[in-house]
């Protein structure tokens, strides 16, 4: 809470976010949640997906089908092109099968 409007973080600064995974995305990644430093230039949900895919085989398997994967930013559904902006929690999961 020390940051003020007069002192914004530079857009290129490394920012940490919480990632959470559900169902088969969680199983393929191998964990339910983690904190990561976003690489510079990671501006949208799709940017993040494309970076995650490069981390290891589990992530590559989880995010292989970019059109299938669903995302939420701070617990609200997001589209591939949605900007991460000041997100603190980003979730990835398969299409939902409740009801």
């Amino acid at each position: 809470m020390t940051q003020t409007l007069a002192d914004p973080a530079p857009a290129t600064a490394t920012r940490r976010v919480r990632l959470v995974y559900f169902a088969w995305v969680r199983e393929r990644v191998g964990l339910g949640e983690e904190e990561v430093a976003l690489p510079a230039g990671t501006e949208t949900v799709l940017d993040l997906v494309r970076w995650l895919k490069t981390r290891d085989e589990g992530y590559a398997a989880a995010f292989a089908d970019e059109k299938l994967i669903r995302a939420a930013i701070d617990r609200v559904h997001a589209k591939p092109g949605t900007r991460l902006a000041h997100a603190s929690e980003i979730a990835f999961f398969p299409p939902m099968t409740g009801g």
Partner: protein
């Protein structure tokens, strides 16, 4: 009208939920409820395991309920969704809508279920009768198509 949204492991009681919405409300002329049950899939299924996104599940169903309330003149709306292990014959989900007249209550309950299936963050995995853990249930195109009816 404040919707009642509950995400819980425990079972629920349809009669109690209807009574909670309609008691002392002589302005209500219609109560429509939908209850979703776990099927046994021809005897092959032992249970469904429901995973959810705590926090977002409540919030997302709340957003769907708020939208229903703007579309129809509802007098009450409840949605309950269970998580955890649910066996064939047991209840999974409940929607109750009340209104002065039936059309609004029917349509709002239908709308709620269509959107619950495509937007509420829940995922089902099958536990099979032969003791093995089956796969994750795949989302159906017909559910997406059903939700599109309302847009």
């Amino acid at each position: 009208m404040t919707p009642v949204i509950r995400i819980q492991r425990e079972d629920f009681d349809l009669a109690a939920e209807v009574a909670a919405l309609s008691a002392g409300r002589p302005d209500i002329g219609a109560v429509v409820s939908f209850t979703g049950l776990c099927r046994d899939e021809g005897g092959t299924l032992a249970a469904l395991e429901l995973e959810h996104y705590p926090g977002m599940a409540e919030a997302e169903i709340g957003r769907v309920a708020a939208e229903a309330a703007t579309r129809w003149p509802l007098l009450g709306l409840s949605a309950i969704h269970r998580f955890g292990l649910v066996r064939p014959g047991e209840q999974i989900v409940l929607v109750v809508a009340t209104s002065a007249h039936r059309r609004a209550a029917f349509e709002a309950a239908d709308f709620m279920m269509d959107y619950l299936k495509t937007r509420a963050p829940f995922w089902k995995r099958e536990h099979l009768a032969d003791g093995t853990t089956g796969g994750w249930v795949e989302a159906k195109q017909e559910d997406d198509d059903a939700a599109l009816r309302w847009s």
